[in-house]
């Protein structure tokens, strides 16, 4: 057979081998990734005695569904979940409000302030939070803000917002102003606004 047929046949064999090895590797990796999670789930359904049993019990233990109810009613878990949700939501909204206009301004306009702010954003992403921990702790404690949600929101937004600017800028960079202008002009908000202004 010709050279090309031989090459294609060999390539097909290699591809099949690749696929078989890939499935085996992925299977092992999936076991490695999910076993801890499943084990933690199993442990959550055991009694305390069953958890510390040695050798460990894999199945055949009394399933304690009430653990989930107890953790909800007898610990402060609802408070923690609410706190977490609240902080995450406010932080995200604040970061978007601050970050998206910033990214738009850097991407669509050129100015010295814009370049300087991009440098600021990049530097902020390199600084490790633990280094800033010491001064932030002092500043917040002198403002009596330790142990409040406000403090966490303020600090988290400061670290999340540069990240938002980075990613959104990348997205804006690939679009041109004329495209954005055209899309905006077709929106109802713009038409309503220009009517309000008395334009045609």
């Amino acid at each position: 057979m010709g050279l090309w047929e031989r090459i294609n046949q060999n390539q097909a064999l290699i591809n099949q081998l690749h696929r078989a090895v890939a499935i085996v590797v992925l299977g092992l990796v999936l076991i490695w990734l999910f076993f801890p999670i499943l084990w933690a789930l199993e442990t959550s359904l055991k009694t305390r005695a069953a958890t510390v049993a040695s050798p460990p019990i894999y199945w055949g233990f009394d399933v304690q569904w009430q653990n989930f109810i107890l953790v909800w009613t007898e610990t402060a878990l609802p408070t923690y979940i609410f706190n977490g949700l609240f902080i995450a939501t406010v932080t995200t909204i604040l970061s978007l409000i601050l970050g998206v206009p910033h990214a738009y301004a850097i991407s669509m306009y050129q100015s010295r302030l814009g370049d300087a702010s991009l440098l600021l954003v990049t530097i902020t992403r390199i600084v490790p939070p633990i280094t800033i921990l010491v001064p932030i702790y002092f500043i917040f404690s002198s403002l009596n803000l330790i142990n409040t949600k406000v403090a966490i929101i303020i600090a988290q937004t400061a670290f999340l917002e540069p990240f938002v600017v980075w990613i959104v800028k990348g997205s804006f960079d690939s679009k041109s102003r004329s495209l954005i202008g055209r899309v905006a002009k077709r929106s109802r908000l713009c038409r309503w606004y220009s009517q309000l202004r008395g334009h045609s």
Binding site: I7, N10, Q11, H18, R19, V21, A22, I23, V25, L26, V29, L30, W32, L33, P36, I37, W39, T43, T51, S54, P55, P56, L98, G99, P101, H102, A105, I106, S107, M108, Y109, Q110, S111, R112, L113, G114, L120, T124, I126, V127, P128, P129, I130, T131, I132, L133, V134, P135, Y137, F138, I139, A155, T157, A158, E161, P162, V165, S176, R177, S178
Partner: protein
């Protein structure tokens, strides 16, 4: 019209951006001002305060009897033998995470680079370790590592690899291993995604061409895959080493700093100096030195992987 590439780039850029002069408070400046002000205040003020803390020292309480001491704090950090121990620990931990983690992630990415059935499903499942908060993942792994009733020891004994229970948290090497394995587990989705994106951008006909030229699998990997993967590899190395160099929660939750201080990394020491000893100036200086350390390591990585170096694997 004779227009070269730079002219064309400028032309396109002028079409899509507009210059805004320094003096005027134009629309775009208004857009970015709140963000810049916020970052400057929330990060900049503490940064200035950090500089202040680093160059001062006080006897009893801050602000009441502080005196300017210049570089004394930095010198006392650098000359304390402990600090170099912690730096070594940090570098060891980072080397373990990168040295073991990146080949694993590369292997997974290569495995995912075929058209498998349900490829998207595998990719989505792979992302899950990153969605779990670090502390929770660490506690999960800690549960498995606890010597008497932990699953890992039990499985190892069942398979016959070891005779006695390994005391994971009592020995330095084993304690490192627990922290490193947990960190790799958590960071796998990150590296795999980036490397997979890099792998997918390599066109297939390059492999065909190299096959015609007589390259087997290993040579194809050496001469086609690795060089073209350089930007993705650099990105993964930079991101993961930065996370590892300043990693606090994983190690602290797992080993509390190791038996004694053998797995204490610089980040943990900063925390201890600040919270346990109340030694704010020392902690501040140490934090500053950590930033310098990170920048040095980053510089080495980027320089080492720049286009002038050969990326050959023997």
């Amino acid at each position: 019209m004779n227009m070269n590439f730079t002219d064309w780039k400028e032309y396109v850029q002028n079409m899509r951006t507009s210059m805004s002069s320094v003096k005027s408070l134009s629309f775009d400046k208004l857009l970015l001002l709140p963000s810049v002000v916020y970052i400057t205040v929330i990060i900049g003020v503490p940064a200035l305060f950090l500089a202040y803390l680093t160059v001062t020292q006080d006897v009893f309480s801050l602000f009441l009897d502080t005196r300017f001491v210049g570089l004394e704090n930095i010198i006392s950090v650098l000359t304390s033998g402990d600090f170099w121990l912690f730096t070594g620990n940090t570098l060891l931990y980072t080397a373990g995470v990168i040295g073991i983690g990146i080949p694993i992630q590369l292997g997974i990415a290569i495995a995912l680079n075929t058209d498998l059935p349900y490829r998207r499903v595998w990719q989505t499942l792979l992302l899950i370790p990153w969605t779990i908060p670090f502390v929770i993942s660490t506690v999960m792994w800690k549960l498995m590592f606890i010597p008497e009733f932990g699953v890992i020891n039990h499985l190892l004994i069942e398979v016959g690899l070891i005779e006695q229970q390994i005391q994971w948290f009592s020995g330095t090497g084993t304690a490192y291993f627990t922290a490193i394995i947990t960190t790799i587990w958590i960071m796998t989705p990150l590296g795999t995604t980036i490397l997979l994106a890099g792998l997918e951008s390599i066109p297939d006909n390059l492999y065909e061409a190299s096959y015609i030229d007589g390259a087997g699998l290993w040579n194809q990997f050496r001469h086609v895959t690795l060089p073209l993967l350089r930007p993705a590899l650099t990105a993964v190395l930079v991101i993961e080493s930065m996370l590892a160099l300043r990693g606090f929660e994983i190690i602290y939750t797992m080993t509390r700093g190791g038996p004694g201080r053998s797995t204490t990394v610089v980040a943990i020491d900063i925390y201890r100096q600040m919270i346990r000893n109340g030694n704010a100036h020392y902690a501040a200086a140490e934090g500053l030195i950590l930033v310098v350390l990170i920048l040095i390591v980053l510089g080495i990585i980027v320089k080492g992987l720049s286009s002038d170096t050969e990326l050959e694997v023997e």
